[in-house]
Amino acid sequence: MITLPCPWCGPRNVTEFAYGGETVARPDAATVTPAEWRAYLYVRANPAGPVTETWLHRAGCRRYLVVERDTTSNEVLAVRRAGRAAKTPTGQHP
C-alpha cells in the first residue's frame, strides 16, 4: 500500500494518514463485564486477510475514514467515510 484513497481528497500517500485500529464497538459502560472490557481494550482479530479499520487523514483533510484492507498484501479493498456505506476504491462516492 503506497496510497490510500481518501473519500474526500482522492488517492494520497499513506504517510499522510494515522492508523486508528480495527473497528470495534465500544461496550455499554453500565452493563459491561470485566472480561468484555478486557476484550474491548486489548483483543483484536488480527487477521491475515481482509480487515475493517479506522484511519485519520491527519496531514490532509483531518477527517476519519473506514478502510477495508487485505493485511497480507496491503491492498485496499474498499473505503468509505466514517459512518457511511462502503464504496470500492475507484467508485465515486455519493
Binding site: 504517510t15 492508523y19 478486557r38 486489548y42 483484536r44 488480527n46 491475515a48 493485511t71 497480507t72
Partner: protein, 419 residues
C-alpha cells in the same frame, strides 16, 4: 537414536580437512511420527531453544519442532542480532539478564561458535525527558546488578568518534545510557547451534511442515493437524512470532496481539569504525557494524499492522535521514538491501508466556521487537514450565491472565525502539 555428530574443535577441523571426509549434517530430516510427547510450533530460536532445554535439562526427548518454512526463517533470521539487558522494570531486567548470561556461555554449551561480541550498547538521549528516563533505567539496572550508567557527550565522542555530539545538531545529544555487556551475535548460528543441540539429543526437527489446526477436547489439547498429516500430543507449544494469534486461535485461545512488520537495512561493508551498538529513541534508529563491516540499521515497527514483509521507501527515507543526523560522514555509503520481519506486539510491550486456559497448550509469544535477545532464557523457562507443569518465577509476570487482572508489565519506554 542419538546423532553421532562429531565435536567441533580445531582438532576435528584439521582431521576432517586432511582426510577429506564430509561432515555429517548438523540436524537431520525424519519421518513425521503419529505421536510425540511435545509438539513445538515454530522452528526459530524460541522453539529450538525450548526443544533443546527440554532434552538437555529435563530428559524429555520425544519432541517435534514444526516449522512451515525453514528453521530460523522468521524473526530469528530477520532481527538485528542485538543483545542487552538494560530494561526498565525489575521483572524485565531479571529476565533479560538471565538471557545474556546464557548467551555468554552459549558457544561452549552448544559447542557451536555463535560469535557473541560484547562491544557495548549505547542509548542516546536528545532531550531532558529521555535523559531522566536513562537515569531511572541506570539506577534500576544497578540495583538489579546490571552494568549500566549514564555518560556525557565527551565520553560518547571517545567511544564513537564519528558521532556528531556538537550542539549544532538538529537533535543535540545530551548524554547516553551506556551498557557495556550489550553487543551483537551471529543470529543464524544461534538457531543452528540450538537445532544441532536438540537433534543430537533425539528431538525431531520438521521443516516445511505447516500446522493447520490444533485439536482440543474439553479444553485439553490432543494434538495438531499438519500439512503432512495429524500428530497427537498432550503438550503443544506455540513458539511463533507474527502468526502467534492465528495459531492460538486454532486452539481457541484469544491473544491480545497485533502483527506489525519491523524493517531493517544493511549497507555495503566498510572498514571497522563503529565499536558499540548505537541507539536513538528520539530519531527512531539503531546502528551497529557487523564483523564483515556492514552497517546494520533498524527502526521502530511500521505505523500500521500487516502480514506483508515488503519493504517501503518511506522507511528507507526516514532511516537514512536519521542516521545522517547522528553520523553525517556516512553520507556516501550505499544500502545493500532492506527486509522486514513480523512482530507480534502486545499492549504493554512485554511477552506472553506459560499456561493458557486450554490444558496442555502453552504459549511463548508476544515477543514484539525484542524476541531474539530473549531466546535462550525463554527456551530454558518454557522447558521448565512444560516439564513441571508449573510457571517458573522468572516468567510469572508475563502470564496471559495479566491482561484480565490489570497487572501489565510496562516496558514501552525501554523496549519500543531501544533494541
Amino acid at each position: 537414536m542419538k546423532n553421532e555428530t562429531p565435536r567441533y574443535s580445531a582438532f576435528s577441523l584439521a582431521r576432517r580437512g586432511l582426510s577429506g571426509k564430509p561432515w555429517p549434517p548438523a540436524w537431520r530430516a525424519h519421518e513425521l511420527r503419529p505421536s510425540y510427547d511435545v509438539v513445538i510450533i515454530g522452528g526459530g530460536v524460541h522453539g529450538l531453544a525450548t526443544a533443546h532445554y527440554l532434552a538437555a535439562n529435563h530428559d524429555i526427548t520425544n519432541v517435534a519442532v514444526l516449522d512451515k518454512g525453514y528453521i530460523g526463517g522468521g524473526g530469528s533470521g530477520r532481527n538485528t542480532a542485538i543483545l542487552r539487558s538494560n530494561y526498565l522494570t525489575p521483572e524485565g531486567i531479571a529476565f533479560y539478564d538471565r538471557s545474556l548470561t546464557l548467551y555468554r556461555h552459549l558457544a561452549a554449551d552448544l559447542n557451536f561458535n555463535v560469535m557473541f561480541s560484547q562491544r557495548g550498547h549505547m542509548t542516546l538521549a536528545h532531550n531532558d525527558s529521555s535523559l531522566r528516563t536513562m537515569r531511572w533505567r541506570a539506577e534500576v539496572n544497578k540495583l538489579c546488578g546490571v552494568d549500566s550508567d549514564v555518560i556525557d557527550p565527551n565520553e560518547i565522542a571517545k567511544l564513537v568518534p564519528r558521532m556528531d555530539v556538537s550542539s549544532e545538531a538538529r537533535y543535540p545529544i545530551l548524554g547516553a545510557l551506556w551498557h557495556p555487556p550489550g553487543g551483537i551475535i551471529r543470529h543464524d548460528a544461534v538457531v543452528w547451534g540450538y537445532a544441532r543441540g536438540a537433534d543430537r539429543r533425539g528431538v525431531h526437527i520438521h521443516q516445511n511442515t505447516e500446522v493447520v489446526g490444533v485439536d482440543a477436547i474439553d479444553d485439553r489439547v490432543t494434538g495438531v493437524r499438519t500439512s503432512r498429516g495429524p500428530v497427537s500430543a498432550s503438550v503443544v507449544v506455540n513458539c511463533t512470532a507474527g502468526w502467534s494469534s492465528l495459531v492460538s486461535d486454532m486452539a481457541g485461545v484469544e491473544m491480545p496481539v497485533q502483527t506489525f512488520p519491523l524493517q531493517a537495512a544493511v549497507t555495503e561493508p566498510v572498514q571497522p569504525f563503529l565499536d558499540p551498538v548505537v541507539v536513538s529513541g528520539t530519531l527512531h534508529v539503531y546502528v551497529s557494524q557487523t564483523d564483515r563491516g556492514e552497517l546494520v540499521f533498524g527502526a521502530s515497527v511500521d505505523p500500521f499492522p500487516s502480514y506483508s514483509t515488503g519493504g517501503s521507501l518511506e522507511f528507507i527515507e526516514g532511516l537514512a535521514g536519521h542516521v545522517l543526523q547522528l553520523m553525517p560522514s556516512l553520507h556516501r555509503l550505499r544500502l545493500l538491501r532492506q527486509w522486514a520481519g513480523l512482530c507480534d506486539m502486545t499492549p504493554d510491550y512485554s511477552p506472553i508466556m506459560g499456561l493458557t486456559p486450554v490444558d496442555g497448550f502453552y504459549v511463548d509469544v508476544g515477543w514484539g521487537t525484542y524476541g531474539f535477545k530473549a531466546g535462550p532464557v525463554s527456551g530454558e523457562q518454557m522447558a521448565a514450565c512444560i516439564a513441571t507443569g508449573r510457571t517458573p518465577e522468572l516468567i510469572a509476570p508475563f502470564s496471559l491472565s495479566r491482561f484480565a487482572d490489570g497487572h501489565l508489565v510496562g516496558e514501552k519506554g525501554a523496549a519500543a525502539v531501544g533494541h
